[in-house]
Chain length 337, copies 4
């Protein structure tokens, strides 16, 4: 059984496990106040031109939840694509903190200035919530990514309308690899974003980068109240120590994208056209249910949408995916067509 | 620098790191739905006579928060000792889910039936909250623990008054070691409790055991909404795989208690009497500030209460504490008296 | 200046003011526990075949908020039309209690079984909220209403899927008058509904009728916690005493509808076709902005949508609207065409 | 049956009912945006030297809830006397908005600077909430009141510690009458306070006065989200129109106090000493249960504490209380001694 189910199926990249072994006899301060956490944050800060606060959190949902609920007053709302992870796959976590999400229907997982501008109309009085934060994912939930020009346009617009722009970077590694953007580009064009570890080789952990001064105060209070403050904060720090040594974070993203590209060109060669253009590490294809059933005997993957006779499945590559796995998969798909 | 600051200063017990290495090439299902998680849960289930649900969570605060908010309707409240972790050290996490905590002042961190009975008076109408869940910690925040008879009395009372009894077991290892209680004793005498991994050798993780049928449904929804559902749930499972091999969980608790007992008898020999009777792995002593200042040059510990001229400090032992550390500490304390 | 702005522009119907005068020397128990409140509730109960709980609340938003948040567990969600008052005009009140609203796009303000059935797909696992309550308004926000057959179909479906059906009856008076439904029809075909007083002649007050046994317990706790428990509950009771004497509640709805029908036929005669079919007391028409500007000098009304050159305005009739007002309005509209 | 149960047992003072009759043919704008609301707010503003925002709300609990939850960030907490209405009689309304209440045990319902100062110790790091608002009631729940010097000291202290001072004025009328303070004294010595209508002759309504600039923005959003924005806001405005004509608000408070003073001196004459010094309109006395049983045949009152053989009861006077009622009561108490 080979898994293309997601990009978080293994414990961690070997170099991270090695680091954990290396630090295993050290005594650290708790709650991220240890020397290693401070040092790893400085490493990240050194890649950015703005002065930021950095917090290591365990996973994506709690990162989204803490940042957004910290940013908003009770009557303020989030704007998100209707495919946004915060609406679709977090069991109402944002609403559980009291905030409405205003959904923008869209085709490819991305928001644009005109879409947001249209949504803002009509939120003028006290009978409606006050839109205050724009949430985007990069890479998006459909595998697309934002260009630098797109991010710049979004951020300029948000600033002109007194909206925060927050970027969910659970899959930032593949987005940077695909777009050529740097971490500093993200930082320049948002109020806060996070660098996803869990889906790019880490055992756990997301590094939240807060640039906006108004979001910085008392953020550790917010994390602790959410239940998201790791007692052994240094464990999360070690992950990013590993990811930001020897270009690992970027290389793993590049590798995952390359594997997805191989799968894609193989599929196209077989006449199977992914339903979204594949630019990062997620591939969505539609097969007959009978074909899916056969494939699922040797491969793990998500059934994304069940149309009855046909099913759309999602294949995800990662740092762990090998060319051998890819070739085996393609051969087996060919055999069921 | 030797740390007696807490029992979560190191990454993990070596045998757990070894297990992580062992599983490093395996592909797991996400969100705790993998075969290993299921198997480790069965191991814990096998030690219990009741049929339970088990969930692995990242840390204590989020475990308390999810269980309590899941158990309560909006107008229901928690009863806790005024030293309870949920009130004192979780930044209002329970209140952030909408629930009042009714505090019972007490001397040694423990609740009793008469104390709860007295508190329940006067909560009869719709102008007051409805007490519904009793929260206790075992071991408590002051290092004391509950006997089997005490737990039985509490649980019998709670059942007679339609109250849930929930036991915070962040330091359950040392409590079991000190009291001779078994996991099954805990299970028999509560509606839910958790087995603390973080403070007893694990890298992270608490194993929440839910016995009450009314608390079981949709608990995974509650975890996910809280942001507490680990993508790599198998990482938490591995911790408990390690802790419940070769009696490790119990041995580590016993060791920590033994180290604390050595410190305590050394201190008493030096004329320093801990302010709470020491029965688990926490020792609270009061020294002159000048003495504390000297000690803090070579030892890490918490200053629990600052009385100005004097300070109460907390020393915590763990699986990592060695007899050499203990003897060094006692010698250095002797030298500053 | 004549107001067609809404149906709550005057203090109260004269017969209610008379009742208030009549009771002015009486001393009542507080919080709705007085004899009059009990008696008025019995009057309402007598019109219903099921055994219900009845609570008088101050207004619509708090009634929606308390009922819905009382009905739902934290991870459960509401299904509503995208025109639903709870989403569009209550400033995120439902989300502020922690619950997601799942919106169904629709044309005329009404939900149907197929629309709900389609929405339910895909809410199967713990990464998504659990739809649990269907919210409809009757009359709807666009002035349409539900027939008995439609309500029966909805309720049968909701019961088959373990969903609550809750009917916002802020404008129930005009809906009953238009549809010929009785209060008992509402009661038979929902788990809870409310009888709107504020928009049908009362000074304030909505009478919430709870039929579902699972929604009844501790509802007064929920009201009190929300801040919605009137100290002088008897003031709300007096409103419904008045409304349910001499058929007043139904007559006022009939009158408001009749006035709206007169306006509608006058408008159609002038060539102005309302954008929704007018069946209750709300009329939506589109005029040139220049025409709206003139009209607004002597009439109060809401500008519903601003299209720039044109504007859609809303005209609302009520118990206070007279034929003279209607004729004056029509004449003035004729003069600006 | 004569009621000394509370000060909100009757619909409203006759002059207010007269005003309602007078306005009964007027059409008003909704939601407090009508000309009368604006004018009555100006009347209140004219009594104050600072520039304030004024909002009319329906009752005390929702006023406390909206103001406090609007003032606080999620991790911030309220400081209150342990007798505070927000903790004791509002069913966890404040906690339901996510905030912890830090209770100060006290004897007479009042907070002092040293008590608050002591409470603030130890709230320094992210594991504890951040105290941010001090809540006091004036008159207090035990019938005591604050002097000008006491308020000044509290406010000066709060300002020095960056704490809001909020005064619950549900019984402000009797407090002003007893203390000689003016509304402007309240305004000068707090960030926000409210003028209680419900318990001083109004049919409903509290006038919330916000002085602190940081509390003003978007307060109407907060009210609407809470469900506290009256559709017929003008009904609340009319109450304060009546209360602030001809000195009514102050006269009613003076009268209630005078009636309480008569009862008190009569009781003392009979050898019954109230358990708190009586300075406003609440009298707490302890009688034998057998005496209470007899008294309760002809009088309504609250049994405050049940000691078994004895019971402490509360007698409350109001604008409605007459000397005849007082003399009858005293005579009947004499007869049961």
């Amino acid at each position: 059984m080979i898994s293309f189910k997601n990009d978080y199926s293994e414990i961690a990249h070997p170099s991270i496990l090695t680091l954990m072994q290396k630090h295993s006899q050290t005594q650290f301060n708790g709650y991220g106040l240890d020397a290693l956490s401070i040092s790893v944050k400085q490493t990240i800060q050194s890649m950015l031109q703005a002065n930021v606060d950095i917090h290591f959190l365990v996973g994506g949902t709690i990162t989204n939840k803490v940042l957004i609920s910290h940013a908003l007053r009770p009557y303020e709302a989030v704007i998100s694509a209707d495919t946004g992870h915060i609406f679709v796959h977090e069991t109402g976590a944002i609403e559980s903190t009291g905030h409405q999400i205003l959904l923008i229907p869209n085709a490819n997982g991305k928001l644009t200035v005109p879409l947001i501008e249209e949504t803002l109309k009509g939120f003028s009085d006290e009978h409606r919530v006050l839109p205050k934060l724009v949430y985007i994912s990069n890479a998006t939930e459909t595998g697309t990514f934002y260009t630098k020009a797109e991010l710049q346009a979004l951020y300029r617009f948000c600033q002109s309308r007194d909206l925060y722009l927050f970027i969910d970077g659970a899959r930032l590694g593949v987005a940077l690899a695909a777009s050529g953007l740097t971490l500093n580009d993200l930082c320049e064009n948002s109020d806060a974003f996070y660098i996803g570890g869990t889906k790019n080789g880490a055992m756990l952990g997301e590094a939240l980068v807060i640039k906006s001064e108004s979001l910085k105060p008392f953020f550790r209070h917010a994390i602790k109240q959410s239940g998201g403050l790791l007692a052994k904060g240094f464990v999360a720090a070690i992950q990013f120590e590993g990811l930001f040594q020897n270009n690992l974070f970027f290389d793993l993203g590049t590798h995952a994208n390359a594997m997805a590209a191989q799968i894609t060109s193989g599929l196209i060669h077989l006449g199977i056209i992914p339903i979204y253009p594949v630019s990062t590490n997620q591939i969505f294809i539609t097969l007959k249910k009978t074909q899916v059933d056969i494939l699922s005997k040797n491969y793990a993957f998500e059934i994304w949408t069940d149309h009855g006779f046909e099913q759309t499945i999602r294949l995800v590559t990662s740092w762990f995916t090998t060319e051998t796995m890819v070739q085996t998969l393609l051969k087996d798909i060919e055999s069921i067509l």
